[in-house]
């Protein structure tokens, strides 16, 4: 059942479930949302699904999967409720509002013997998996530095202002975009040994965030996230023996410049050639939407005991815990166009919020 029929459900889960339904891999039993109009947007595609306002109105059987795509402040209560009813859960990112809630969700799932997966689908990109191999196997040597910029003027079709209400959403761009970026970084490199965090929240929610990170072994990195202005949307990793570039959301493409080479290679990832596969270019690895589908397939296969669940709740918790420590140690970012009086007042607002 799909719990929450807003923008994420409409843009990502609707096409995913439509594809997997047509293959007979899943069947959508219920669309859950207090808003009639939000449910109607999906009901046309899944006419057989029960349309209900609340999760507790569902008669889905034990062992079903609840996909939770509601605002983060509802994730904990809905997950706990769902697993107690005997349903497995795939919870959209961020996993919850706080790490304490995440721990509660994990404990509930464990005690109910149900799976709790977190929707961090960028781990399913062939390009991010390729990078994971580079970091762990060291084909290009040790990592020396990296820079990551992601974001641009905010365009997400948020249905309500709750997204920008600090009482309802505990973070800004770091929690929104940053949860994906930090999940990937922690998956690739583990937690940093030291970091500094800066943002522009002055009593509200940040729209620009900068994290400077240090890793054991001496690698240094910087992360810049923005909902304010256009960024290059680019990841750049400098290794001992080469530089790898990755464009945000390019699920199966990378740019690689080997040390000493005068040019870089702009590559698409393909399935390795085998004697029976004469044209590897025809075997492009999964795209961005196909990676989203792969995530749901992994959850379904894990429920059936055919695969290991790749992103369980414990993994979703790691990036959220790091984000919380960033917020706890935030420093107001310098905004160099402010007058000295404005900068002083901004520091006061940031310190007292």
């Amino acid at each position: 059942m799909l719990i929450g029929c807003g923008a994420v459900a409409q843009q990502f889960y609707l096409p995913t479930l439509r594809t997997l339904s047509s293959l007979g891999e899943v069947s959508v039993q219920a669309l859950v949302d207090p808003s009639d109009s939000a449910r109607r947007a999906l009901a046309g595609t899944f006419p057989q699904a029960q349309q209900i306002a609340q999760l507790n109105e569902s008669n889905a059987p034990d062992g079903s999967l609840a996909i939770i795509a509601t605002p983060p402040r509802f994730h904990c209560a809905q997950t706990v409720d769902a697993v107690k009813r005997g349903w497995h859960v795939l919870c959209e990112k961020p996993m919850a509002s706080t790490s304490v809630e995440c721990e509660q969700m994990i404990a509930s799932a464990k005690s109910s013997h149900r799976l709790l997966a977190v929707g961090l689908y960028k781990r399913f990109f062939p390009s991010s998996r390729y990078l994971k191999d580079l970091f762990s196997q060291g084909q290009l040597g040790a990592l020396r530095s990296f820079s990551i910029s992601e974001g641009g003027p905010f365009r997400w079709p948020a249905a309500s202002p709750s997204f920008f209400n600090k009482a309802q959403t505990p973070g800004g761009v770091l929690l929104d975009i940053g949860v994906h970026v930090l999940d990937l970084l922690i998956w690739w490199l583990n937690e940093p040994s030291a970091y500094q965090y800066f943002d522009d929240a002055m009593g509200g929610l940040e729209t620009n965030a900068r994290v400077e990170l240090d890793y054991p072994g001496g690698a240094r990195g910087v992360l810049h996230l923005s909902r304010d202005w256009y960024t290059p949307n680019q990841y750049r990793f400098v290794f001992e023996r080469g530089i790898v570039g990755w464009k945000v959301n390019d699920a199966n493409g990378l740019t690689v410049q080997l040390s000493g080479a005068s040019s870089a290679l702009r590559s698409q990832l393909v399935t390795p050639s085998t004697p029976s596969l004469s044209d590897p270019a025809a075997q492009l690895q999964p795209t961005n939407p196909q990676s989203f589908i792969a995530q749901l397939r992994n959850v379904a296969a894990a429920i059936q005991g055919r695969e290991t669940l790749l992103i369980p709740g414990e993994e979703g918790l790691r990036s959220l815990r790091f984000i919380e420590t960033c917020y706890a140690h935030r420093t107001l970012i310098e905004q160099p166009w402010f007058t000295p009086a404005e900068a002083e007042r901004a520091r006061h607002l940031a310190a007292t919020s």
């Binding site: 990551i148 905010f154 009593g203 509200g204 910087v222 970012i333 160099p336 009086a341 901004a346």
Partner: protein, 362 residues
């Protein structure tokens, strides 16, 4: 004073929120059309409101309890023309007596005839639709203010630049790409105004005891040529001025397919039919038009050369301007004098650009 700022997420509106809130003299109420536009105002703990500058009822609700309103919303030419009447009706219904409307020096065109002042009669025969829309909008604004007996102030800034301005970001990009250009060695006058100077003028309008019912031309204190603007930008971005093209003639400016479609859509008879068109079809058509860019035929034998200058009709007209419009009326009636120098304004603007784009590891 409690001041509503319509268009609080835009370039001018967002700086207005910053200045007024951090200045502490006024309580600001950012007003935006949709939740997604709250990203910038929501950095502060402020009471923001949703209100559509094209719907009287929604805007009236958003303006309730405010003492004054500043209109900094943008739109296409048709929307620009509609907004003042809606603004004034909503402000009147909300009991607001003071309205500041951001008009534009473009009401005089981009290349302003010498001798132009606020008293110079306006016309709607400009080649750029935006200018004509601003002329009609300003006329509508004063007429509606008079109808509702409101104190209406219209400001006519020229080239407004500063943090989050396309003038800064685009110019830096053109300089980097080698596509920036100057006409006649940049002798044209750009009638610049730093956004903080414009906000100073807005503040004066909000606090003035007289001078309502008139438009005001406002600008930086210095006479800034295009060469000044470009050379300063090149210096602050660390790029050589030698990469700037010198241009002595302009191409013929033909309306693009997109501009022709937009002009047709703006016709009243087309507008009257639009409500009957399904939303999804309208959205799909808009997306198609936005992406419409007929490719030229590539020449496989051509060698990549130096990038050419990026010349638009608006920029060609602006760079031919020889008149620095006076700020005398604003000085006399409002006490206007630009507080931030051009040099300091450019320094702050490019400091913002580094803030927004620099991701280097230190």
């Amino acid at each position: 004073m409690k001041i509503a700022i319509i268009g609080a997420n835009g370039f001018i509106g967002s700086r207005l929120v910053e200045q007024f809130h951090l200045g502490g003299q006024h309580t600001v109420i950012p007003v935006v059309r949709k939740p997604a536009s709250l990203a910038l105002p929501a950095r502060f703990s402020l009471e923001w409101r949703l209100g559509d500058a094209l719907e009287t009822e929604s805007l009236t609700a958003a303006l309730q309890g405010c003492d004054a309103v500043v209109h900094a919303a943008i739109g296409d030419p048709l929307q620009i023309e509609k907004m003042p009447a809606i603004l004034c009706a909503a402000a009147a219904a909300a009991g607001i007596k003071r309205v500041v409307y951001l008009s534009s020096a473009s009401v005089h065109g981009q290349s302003i005839p010498p001798g132009t002042t606020e008293a110079t009669p306006l016309h709607t025969e400009h080649s750029i639709d935006y200018n004509n829309a601003k002329v009609r909008a300003e006329r509508s604004f004063f007429s509606e203010c008079s109808k509702y007996r409101m104190d209406g102030y219209a400001l006519r800034p020229g080239v407004v630049y500063g943090p989050r301005s396309r003038w800064i970001a685009d110019l830096a990009e053109e300089l980097r790409e080698g596509r920036a250009w100057l006409f006649d060695e940049g002798r044209g006058i750009c009638n610049s105004i730093y956004v903080d100077n414009l906000i100073h003028a807005i503040r004066l309008c909000l606090e003035a005891n007289a001078g309502a019912g008139q438009p005001y031309l406002v600008g930086d204190e210095e006479t800034v040529t295009w060469a000044d603007f470009y050379h300063q930008a090149a210096q602050l971005t660390g790029l050589p001025t030698t990469s700037i093209h010198r241009v002595d003639r302009f191409p013929a400016f033909e309306k693009s397919f997109r501009e022709r479609v937009e002009k047709t859509v703006a016709q009243p008879w087309v507008q009257s039919l639009l409500p009957a068109v399904p939303f999804k079809l309208k959205r799909a058509t808009k997306t198609l038009i936005a992406s419409w860019n007929p490719p030229g035929s590539p020449d496989a034998w051509a060698l990549p050369g130096r990038p050419g200058p990026h010349i638009t009709e608006e920029m060609a007209l602006l760079q031919q301007n020889r008149w620095r419009f006076p700020h005398t009326q604003a000085a006399q009636n409002l006490g206007y004098r630009a507080p931030v120098s051009f040099e300091e304004a450019m320094r702050r603007s490019f400091a913002w650009l580094r803030f927004a784009t620099d991701v280097s590891v230190k």
